[in-house]
Subunit: 340 residues, 2 copies
């Protein structure tokens, strides 16, 4: 299997992307690092990688974090575009980028193409719940959505939960601010009918608190709200752990029990650290695309590679495209509502 | 001081509202319980309250949690309306309701009236940060907002942070999904100019993670997003504490250090439990109105009474109305954009 990595994308690129890629490459996996050949080569030398499973492909341009999608998507010599093009041409099975999310999403969509029936791809994240895991989408690809987009996210999330999490007939919830159908904003109130008619296991509104309850397997929302949810979760978990440390270190006596618990707490912290854990697949395009966190370090990139491999091996794209739920959407999509 | 409580509002009303009210009443404070006189009387008997600081006012109707605002706001014989009317007529200094939030907000607005310059009142919550506290608003009063609404929330939040939290020149952040001005949805991208022109200390976008960083004193967003943030925070904090318990109880050896830490952890948990802690003021109306959590039990109601007292004593309403920032809005408000 070959996986293309945008080596220039992310706050710690290319050093950490290269380190992570080398760590993840093994006998069954070839990594293609796309970017400035010299800069990547320097990093490879520095870490003393034997590079037998790593290949370099030159890209002259890097899309900065703040560049608007409209101009970013035209940069065909950028590392994101060239990596996406490898997937399009069948020279790589998956694409990973920790760079400008909006640009990566737009380029993957334009270059690799969408699955028929899907207007807009969505970024899906697996979040921990009290009883297992749930899929939350969209977490950032589409900031302003229509009810039809929300219903398509629900369909893709359902297929993902079935395929990757092994959940039968996943329970779908619409993120809103009250359980009753009339509660919510214009978008959520008008999404109910679209969600009810798709043959989904739609179970109504889910409130923010209950995303983690285990009562829902798929939670859908627009990408603005989903991204806020993801980052607020990160912030609260981080604050909780810091506050535990602060509270405990007030008294010397507490330090001993805290020391004894450090193993349990760090295991827990790793579990809560899902936002950085392995990146999130961009569902709805005709290829595997993993969006990694902008702050990804080597470990996160290596996890993203594993996630990409798992998504390829599980044939998530084929299963979404072949799902009767998605087939039912073909012809109903809104051609005018383009991604750009 | 007299405080009117909607005794029939909330999941545990009237039992818990009555218990909380009785617990909070003291020599300097008279509580007016509004609702079904018989039901309230029964609760008073049961807890054996001497009721010397508690007065009963009859209301024939109770607005259910799911009732739409449009019909709820016409119910002039409801406990929320009658409590609000006491504030309007100067017979009570503050109103507290744990009932239907949208109804309470609409009735308070229609019955008590808005502060000139403010189109829509907003619910403000004080959240803990790594270095202190911040004001987050709106957390549920207005699900679909305009840039002008957002700017008014920023003005009210600034006055609240100055008055109640004692912060000089509070730093205002706009909740979005990236630091750059171009990041966000239609609402956030178009709110920048309104926020920049008000004489506020506007410091740009704040991401979900950084609400708790201590880098901002006031965080503004629409009420849908704010409500989701509030409830996600609750959910994550709850899950973290539960997961700590689970992780620790896997091994018998861990139980001893956990036992030693229980004091520190429960203090921390109380700090994180801000969503239920004392209710949140509805800013922008011409009177003090505290919106308590629908799941409020006696302790939360008693805290809401303290919050109401603090808001009255701090003259928050007078200070918002008298602020040059708000005075600058008079005449600029959008009359067509009514609350209902």
């Amino acid at each position: 299997m070959r996986i293309a990595i945008d080596a220039m994308g992310g706050d710690y690129a290319p050093r950490e992307t290269v380190k992570g890629a080398v760590a993840a490459a093994d006998d069954g996996l070839e990594i293609v690092l796309v970017g400035d050949r010299q800069a990547i080569g320097r990093e490879l030398c520095e870490i003393g990688a034997d590079a037998c499973h790593v290949e370099l492909v030159q890209a002259d341009e890097t899309i900065p974090m703040g560049e608007p999608t409209r101009t970013a998507v035209r940069r065909r010599r950028s590392s994101i575009w060239i990596a996406a093009d490898l997937v399009k041409r069948g020279e790589a099975e998956a694409l990973i980028s920790a760079g400008n999310t909006a640009a990566a999403m737009a380029i993957a969509t334009v270059c690799v193409g969408r699955i028929p029936g899907i207007d807009r791809p969505a970024i899906a994240t697996v979040v921990p719940t009290l009883s297992g895991q749930a899929v939350l989408l969209d977490v950032g690809a589409n900031v302003d959505c229509s009810p039809a987009n929300i219903a398509q996210f629900a369909v893709m999330g359902t297929v993902y939960a079935e395929t990757v999490l092994g959940i039968k007939r996943p329970r779908v919830g619409l993120l809103s601010i009250g359980e009753e159908e009339i509660k919510g904003n214009i978008l959520t109130r008008s999404s109910h009918s679209a969600l009810a008619e798709r043959g989904l296991n739609f179970c109504g509104n889910v409130e923010g608190r209950d995303i983690f309850s285990g009562d829902f397997d798929v939670v859908v929302c627009d990408g603005f709200v989903g991204n806020v949810v993801l980052k607020v979760s990160e912030g609260v978990a981080e604050m909780t752990f810091r506050a535990i440390k602060q509270e405990v270190s007030r008294s010397l006596l507490n330090r001993i029990p805290m020391f004894l618990l450090r193993g349990a707490l760090s295991r827990l912290r790793a579990k809560m650290d899902y936002a950085e854990y392995g990146g999130a697949p961009l569902l709805g395009i005709r290829g595997v695309c993993i969006i990694a966190h902008g702050r990804s370090q080597a470990r996160a990139i290596a996890n993203a590679v594993r996630k990409a491999r798992q998504t390829v091996e599980g044939d998530v794209v084929g299963k979404i495209a072949g799902s009767p739920l998605v087939a039912g959407l073909v012809g109903k999509t809104n051609g005018a509502q383009e991604v750009l």
